[in-house]
C-alpha cells in the first residue's frame, strides 16, 4: 500500500512523516514520529491515555486516522513544558503526588490543559466532568483533581499578578 | 517442648491430628521430627510455607532456634497483589 506523506505541526515544530492510510494517529505518533509519551490504554477512546490537542481540541489519538492530520497543529504531553519550564499543571501534579504509576498522566495533563484553556477557573465538579474521559486506576482521582484546581489557582495568580495564596481546601 | 499447630491443608498427612508436641532445638530439626512421625509432611513444608514462632512470622526460619514452650504455626506464604 502506498504510504501517505503528512506535514503538520507538533509541539511547535513542523513535522513530516509517512503513514499507512488506515493507520491511527496514535500509532503514527508513537511509531512514525517517536512521541511515545502518547499512551495506548484501550485503542477505543475509552481511557484518554492518548489524549492530544488537535487544532486546540482535546482528542483521543486512537480515534483519528493519521491522514486526517495533514496541515493540522497538535500538542502532546511532550510539548507542555516550554523552554525548559514545566507547565503549572505538570508542577502541581508533581507537588501534589497526582500520579502513581504515571501511565495515565500524559493524557490527564493534556485534557486538563484543554479544560484550563477554555475555563481558567473551574469548580471541582467541572474538573471531574471534564476529566471523565481519562481513566486512572491508581489514585482514585482525588489528588489529580486537587492538582488541576491548584494549577488553575496558580495560573490565575500569575495572570492577575497578585500574591494571593492558592489553596484548594 | 513446643506446641505445633498443623494447618488443615496438611491434616491429610497427620490422620486429622491438629496439634502435636515436639521437642526440637531448631525449625529444621522440628520439620525433620514431624516428617518422621508423618511421612511426606516435610516435603509439603519445604516450599511456600512460613513458620510463626510465638506470633512472629518468619519466612526464613529454617535455622531459627525454638524456645521452650513455643507455639508454632505453619502458614502458607502469601504474597499479595
Amino acid at each position: 500500500m502506498t504510504r501517505t506523506h503528512i506535514t503538520c505541526t507538533i509541539n511547535g515544530d513542523e513535522v513530516e512523516f509517512l503513514c499507512d492510510q488506515d493507520e491511527t494517529l496514535l500509532d503514527a505518533l508513537r511509531d512514525e514520529v517517536g512521541l511515545t509519551g502518547v499512551k495506548e490504554g484501550c485503542g477505543t477512546g475509552d481511557c484518554g491515555a492518548c489524549s492530544v490537542l488537535l487544532d486546540g481540541r482535546v482528542t483521543c489519538a486512537c480515534l483519528v486516522f493519521a491522514p486526517e492530520v495533514d496541515g493540522t497543529t497538535m500538542v502532546t504531553v511532550e510539548g507542555l513544558a516550554e523552554a525548559g519550564q514545566l507547565h503549572p499543571l505538570q508542577q502541581c501534579f508533581l507537588e501534589g503526588a497526582a500520579l502513581q504509576c504515571g501511565v495515565c498522566t500524559p493524557g490527564f495533563l493534556v485534557a486538563a490543559k484543554a479544560l484550563l484553556d477554555r475555563n481558567p477557573d473551574p469548580t471541582e465538579t467541572e474538573v471531574r466532568y471534564a476529566l471523565a474521559g481519562n481513566l486512572c486506576r491508581c489514585t482514585g482521582y482525588d489528588k489529580i483533581i486537587r492538582a488541576v484546581l491548584d494549577a488553575a489557582a496558580d495560573m490565575q495568580t500569575a495572570t492577575n499578578g497578585g500574591s494571593t495564596a492558592a489553596t484548594t481546601a | 517442648m513446643a506446641t505445633v499447630h498443623v494447618p488443615s491443608s496438611l491434616r491429610d498427612l497427620t490422620d486429622g491430628v491438629a496439634e502435636v508436641e515436639i521437642d526440637a532445638p531448631t525449625v529444621r530439626r522440628l520439620i525433620a521430627e514431624l516428617d518422621q512421625r508423618f511421612p511426606g509432611i516435610g516435603e509439603r513444608l519445604d516450599e511456600g510455607v512460613s513458620v510463626s514462632i510465638n506470633g512472629e512470622i518468619l519466612p526464613d526460619a529454617l535455622y531459627e532456634e525454638i524456645p521452650d514452650g513455643a507455639e508454632i504455626h505453619f502458614l502458607p506464604t502469601l504474597s499479595g497483589g
Binding site: 509519551g37 477505543t44 475509552d46 505538570q90 508533581l94 471531574r128 489528588k143 | 512472629e56 519466612p59
Partner: protein, 755 residues
C-alpha cells in the same frame, strides 16, 4: 502546596521520614519521557500477534500454520509444540499451571487461551497471519460458575484433578482443586449462646485489576542461548524465573530489564507474553515486541475470583460475637490457584470470636486463570462478613463501630488463622472513624451511611538493595523492586533519614536482574517494608564504613566517631567534622569506593487494618447509587511519604467502590466475555466520585526500623461492604450480590415494595 488530608503523626521526630518531596521519577512521568512496556523499539524489531481460543472449552484437533507462514512479512510462528511439555518440566504443580496457561497444547480451557503467536514485519501483518492460522477445535461442555463446576455431573477441566485437603482423599477427579478449613471452639455451643444469629449467602463476580497499561514485552534472543527481555511487570526477577521455567531454560540465561509499569495491582506478578516473545525472537533471530490489546487484557489476563460465600454469625444482646461459620467457594479460572486460602484466613481475622469454622474451596472454571488482585481473596470475604455484622448491629440496636470495637482483635489475640497478633492498630482505625466528624454528619432523604473494616497480612519476602556514595557526596540507591506508586521516593526518604543528608542528594533507581541482587515482586504491600529494610541496612553498613574512615583520619577509635546530620563527628569535639562529601572525595585514599549491599528475607511483617465510612444516596426510582462522601482510616505503621500513603488508601477505596457498584465480567452462554473493554467494564470515572478523605493512623510496626507496615492493599478490603451497608441504610434492602448496579438495586427496592 496545600495539603488537606489529615495525618496523625505519632512517630518520633524524623527529619525526612514523613515529608512529601517530589518523587525522583516524577519529571519523566509528567513530560512523557518515562518508558513503559510498549515504548521500547529496537533496530530490526518485529511485531507480534497472538491467536487466542474463541471457545471456552475445546479440544485442539489440529493447527495448520502453513498458509500463515507463507504470508508476506511473516518471520516466525510458535504453537504449544514449540515449548516443553509442562508436565515434563519437573517443576512444582503451580509452575506447570503457569506454563500451561501461557500456550495451550491439546485443550483450550477458556476464551482467550493462547493457541499460537506470530512475529512479522508489522503488527497488522502479524495479526493477519495469526487470523490465517487454521485451527480445528472440538468444542467441549464448559462450566462458568462454582455452582456449575461443583455439580455432580459437571464436565471436568482437568481429568486428573483430585481435591487436596480432603480427608479421606477423594478417589474421583472433580473441578475442586483444594479444600481449606480453620476451626476453633464449639460451634453449636457458640450459636446456642447467641441472642441473634444472621445467615446469608453472598456472590461476587470476577473483576479485573484494570491497570491502564496493557501487558507488553520486547525480547531479543541472541545466538549464544541467552535472551534479554524488556517488560513492565511487578517484578522482573519473577518474570525471569517464570519465563525460564516455561521455556525450559536456566534463569541466568535471561536478563530482564524493567520498564516503567503502568499499574499492576497484582495482575503483573505473572507472565503472559514474555515466553512467547522469547520463542518468537529465538525462531526469527530478530527482536520481537508483543503488546496486548485491551480486549486481550480482559479476556486472557488474570482477573480475581468470582465467589460464593455463605456466612452465619451469632451475637449476644450486649454485642459479644459468639460464633461464626463461613463456607467459601472461589473461582480459580482455568487452573487451580484462587485466593480462597487468603480469603479463609482473613474473613474472621479482625475479630476475636471464640467459636468458628471456616471451609473454603478452590474451584476451576472455564474462565481466565485468576491472578492476584490487591489483598487477594480478602475483599469478597470481608463483603460477606462485614455485611452480616452490619445486620447484627442493627438487630441488637448497637452502633456498628461499637460492635466492632467490642470484638476487635488486639495485641495478643489469637488470630483466626493461627498465631497471636503482635501490636496492631485495628482499634485505632475504628476509633478514628467513630471520632471523625463524617460519622456524625447529618444525612438527607434516600441517603444512608455504612461502615466496614478490613484486614490484610502484608508480605515481607526477599529484597536486595545496593547503596553507592558518589564522589560528589550524593548517593545512589539501587533497588530491584519496580516502582508503581512512588517507592523510589520512600526509599530515598529512608536513606536520607538514615544518612542525615538531604533527600535531594539521593537518586533511587530500579535496576535490572543483573545489576542488583534478587528481589521478589512489588506486591503484598511489601516494598516499603522489605526493600526499605534492605536500604536501611545497606545505609547502616555505609555509616559504619564512613565512621571507620573518619576514625582512621583522626587516628582515634571508631567508638569515638558519631554519624550526626550527614557528617562524622568526633565525640570529644576535638576534630572538624567530616561531611559525606569530604569523605567521599577522599575515598580513593581511605579504602576505595564507598558502597554497600544488603539482602534479606524480610521479617517483622506488620498486619494492616482499615476502617471506612461511606455515605450514599440511592435514587429509589432508578436504583442509581451516588457516593456522597467517603472516609478511610488505615494503620500505616509509619507513613514514610504521606502523599503516596494517602494515594494508596484512596486508590484502594475507589477500586473497591468500582467492585461494589459496577465492575463485573459478563459472559454469554457460550462462555465468551461480552464486555472486554473500558466502555462496558465500568471502572469508576472522576465524575462518579467525591474526594476520598484519609486518616493515616500510625501505630508503628515495632519490627521495622521506621515502623513501616505496608499500605498498598488493605484499603480495597472494606469498601464492598461499606457501600452495601450504606445502601442498606438508605433503602432498607440488603444486597448480597455484586455488583450493586442500578438494575440490581432497583430490583431489590421493587421487590421489597412488592413483598
Amino acid at each position: 502546596m496545600t495539603v488537606t488530608e489529615e495525618t496523625t503523626t505519632s512517630g518520633p521526630g524524623y527529619k525526612w521520614v514523613g515529608t512529601r518531596p517530589i518523587r525522583p521519577d516524577g519529571l519523566d512521568k509528567v513530560t512523557g519521557k518515562a518508558r513503559f512496556g510498549a515504548d521500547l523499539a529496537l533496530p530490526g524489531m518485529l511485531e507480534g500477534a497472538v491467536l487466542r481460543s474463541p471457545h471456552a472449552h475445546a479440544r485442539i484437533v489440529s493447527i495448520d500454520t502453513r498458509a500463515a507462514a507463507a504470508m508476506p512479512g511473516v518471520k516466525a510462528i510458535v504453537t504449544g509444540a514449540d515449548f516443553p511439555d509442562p508436565a515434563e518440566l519437573g517443576g512444582r504443580p503451580d509452575e506447570e499451571m503457569v506454563a500451561a496457561n501461557i500456550i495451550a497444547r491439546d485443550k483450550v480451557l477458556y476464551e482467550g487461551h493462547v493457541v499460537a503467536a506470530v512475529a512479522a514485519t508489522s503488527r497488522k501483518q502479524a495479526q493477519r497471519a495469526a487470523a490465517a492460522i487454521e485451527v480445528e477445535y472440538q468444542p467441549l461442555e464448559h462450566v462458568l460458575t462454582v455452582d456449575e463446576a461443583m455439580a455432580d455431573d459437571a464436565p471436568l477441566l482437568h481429568p486428573d484433578l483430585k481435591t487436596r485437603g480432603m480427608d479421606p482423599a477423594p478417589e474421583e477427579p472433580s473441578n475442586i482443586a483444594s479444600r481449606i478449613s480453620h476451626e476453633r471452639g464449639d460451634l453449636d455451643k457458640g450459636f446456642a449462646e447467641a441472642d441473634l444469629v444472621v445467615e446469608r449467602t453472598f456472590t461476587t463476580k470476577p473483576v479485573h485489576q484494570g491497570y491502564i497499561e496493557p501487558h507488553a514485552a520486547v525480547a531479543d534472543a541472541g545466538e549464544n542461548g541467552r535472551a534479554t527481555i524488556w517488560c513492565s511487570s511487578q517484578g522482573h526477577f519473577a518474570m525471569r524465573t517464570m519465563t525460564a521455567t516455561v521455556l525450559g531454560w536456566e534463569p541466568s540465561k535471561l536478563k530482564v530489564i524493567p520498564a516503567e509499569i503502568g499499574g499492576g495491582f497484582g495482575g503483573k506478578t505473572v507472565i503472559y507474553l514474555e515466553p512467547l516473545a522469547v520463542a518468537l525472537s529465538a525462531k526469527s533471530g530478530r527482536p520481537v515486541r508483543l503488546v496486548m490489546d485491551r480486549d486481550e487484557v480482559f479476556r486472557a489476563s488474570g482477573p480475581t475470583s468470582g465467589t460464593k460465600i455463605r456466612v452465619k454469625v451469632g451475637v449476644t444482646n450486649d454485642g459479644q460475637l459468639t460464633a461464626a461459620e463461613a463456607w467459601m467457594a472461589y473461582e480459580a479460572g482455568a487452573y487451580p490457584g484462587s485466593p480462597v486460602g487468603a480469603g479463609g484466613m482473613t474473613i474472621l481475622a479482625p475479630y476475636d470470636i471464640p467459636n468458628f469454622s471456616v471451609e473454603g474451596f478452590d474451584v476451576v472454571v472455564n474462565k481466565p486463570k485468576v491472578a492476584a488482585y490487591r489483598a487477594p481473596g480478602a475483599p469478597m470475604a470481608a463483603f460477606a462478613l462485614e455485611s452480616v455484622l452490619d445486620e447484627l448491629a442493627a438487630g441488637i440496636g448497637m452502633d456498628p463501630v461499637e460492635l466492632r470495637l467490642r470484638n476487635a482483635a488486639v495485641e495478643g489475640t489469637q488470630a483466626s488463622y493461627g498465631p497471636k497478633f503482635p501490636r496492631i492498630g485495628f482499634v485505632e482505625t475504628l476509633e478514628a472513624i467513630r471520632d471523625h466528624d463524617h460519622y456524625r454528619a447529618p444525612l438527607g432523604p434516600n441517603q444512608g451511611r455504612g461502615v466496614a473494616s478490613g484486614f490484610w497480612f502484608n508480605a515481607g519476602m526477599n529484597s536486595s538493595a545496593t547503596v553507592h556514595v558518589n564522589e560528589d557526596g550524593t548517593m545512589t540507591v539501587v533497588v530491584g523492586t519496580p516502582d508503581i506508586g512512588g517507592s523510589r521516593a520512600s526509599m530515598g526518604l529512608m536513606a536520607a533519614e538514615e544518612m542525615g543528608i538531604d533527600v535531594a542528594k539521593i537518586q533511587s533507581i530500579v535496576a535490572d536482574t543483573e545489576t542488583v541482587g534478587f528481589n521478589d515482586v512489588t506486591g503484598g504491600s511489601r516494598v516499603t517494608l522489605a526493600t526499605g529494610a534492605a536500604v536501611v541496612e545497606a545505609c547502616r553498613s555505609i555509616k559504619a564504613d564512613l565512621r571507620a574512615r573518619a576514625a582512621k583520619t583522626w587516628d582515634c577509635d571508631i567508638e569515638e566517631v558519631e554519624w550526626v546530620d550527614g557528617q562524622a563527628q568526633h565525640a570529644g569535639g576535638g576534630e572538624t567534622p567530616l561531611s559525606l562529601q569530604a569523605l567521599a572525595r577522599k575515598s580513593g585514599r581511605t579504602g576505595g569506593p564507598i558502597s554497600a549491599t544488603a539482602s534479606l528475607n524480610a521479617r517483622g511483617v506488620g498486619a494492616a487494618f482499615s476502617t471506612q465510612v461511606c455515605d450514599v444516596e440511592v435514587d429509589p426510582e432508578t436504583g442509581e447509587v451516588t457516593i456522597l462522601r467517603f472516609t478511610t482510616a488505615q494503620d500505616a505503621g509509619t507513613a514514610i511519604h504521606p502523599s503516596y500513603v494517602e494515594g494508596q488508601m484512596q486508590g484502594g477505596v475507589v477500586q473497591g467502590i468500582g467492585w461494589a457498584l459496577n465492575e463485573e465480567y459478563i459472559h454469554d452462554r457460550d462462555g465468551r466475555m461480552e464486555n472486554p473493554g473500558f466502555l462496558d467494564y465500568r471502572i469508576p470515572v472522576a465524575s462518579d466520585l467525591p474526594m476520598i478523605d484519609t486518616v493515616v493512623v500510625e501505630v508503628p510496626n515495632p519490627a521495622h526500623p521506621y515502623g513501616v507496615r505496608g499500605v498498598g492493599e488493605v484499603g480495597i478490603v472494606p469498601p464492598l461492604a461499606a457501600v452495601a451497608n450504606a445502601i442498606a441504610a438508605a433503602t432498607g434492602c440488603r444486597l448480597v450480590d455484586l455488583p450493586m448496579s442500578p438494575p440490581r438495586v432497583l430490583a431489590a427496592i421493587t421487590g421489597k415494595a412488592d413483598g
